[in-house]
Symmetry: C2
Subunit: 143 residues, 2 copies
């Protein structure tokens, strides 16, 4: 089973779990995110999807992205004024925002870190998720 098929199955499955349909638009949007994991904006996704579905509309791209976020297949990321970016990495990870290039890198997190971070919450705060964002510069060695 190819990786594309696997993705499609995962997608169809997860959508079905939420009572939603696996449409060509949703599949192509999802595949675009999987294929190049550079945290694209909706506009960038739109541009990439168009080569496969030339008649898709920007509104549909927004709809699809929103749907994928709802199904927990994709994370929406906002760390500054400016467009929302989309990330198909579901493992626990932080984001490193390179201030020179504007690029965003995923930083995998050791399993204990999120626990450690959660443990600083005082009584009365019940967090369902935590997000960690670094800002700085990445040297060439950090690809």
């Amino acid at each position: 089973m190819s990786s594309a098929t696997l993705n499609a199955d995962t997608l169809a499955q997860k959508l079905a779990d939420s009572g939603l349909r696996a449409t060509p638009q949703r599949e192509v949007v999802y595949n675009v995110l999987i294929k190049k994991r550079d945290h694209p904006t909706a506009d960038e996704v739109f541009a990439r999807v168009k080569s496969e579905l030339p008649t898709i509309s920007l509104a549909t791209v927004y709809n699809c992205l929103e749907t994928l976020v709802q199904c927990d297949l994709v994370r929406a990321v906002n760390f500054e004024r400016g467009p929302t970016r989309y990330c198909p990495n579901l493992r626990p990870h932080a984001h490193f925002h390179d201030e020179q290039t504007g690029k965003t890198h995923d930083i995998d997190l050791p399993p204990t870190l999120l626990e450690t971070v959660h443990s600083v919450l005082p009584r009365g705060f019940d967090a369902s998720s935590v997000e960690i964002i670094f800002r700085g510069k990445a040297t060439k060695s950090a690809h």
Copy 2:
């Protein structure tokens, strides 16, 4: 020396350090942030400032906020689509975003936590700052 005077001096000083002037607009905008630390949007700041400076313009509020951020007197916070929020808390802290009420709480961080978090960065990533955002619900006990 009153706290307001102290703030004004701090402000004037920090602005001067950057070669900028301490104008009434900047002072009022800053005092509004200090007075009610509920992470207001630019529009909310605008509304609050108007009662003291009725002729101030929204553009000036944006300018002042930007200036205060540049001088490290205020932090701009973005954790979701929607307007930037402003926070005059300069101590190291995380933000807890209550999904029920929409309110944002500051969570003070133990001194070691930021180090611990930084330590997960692989070689080649040099972070100048890190931001931590929790999402969840806060019970009434968490004021």
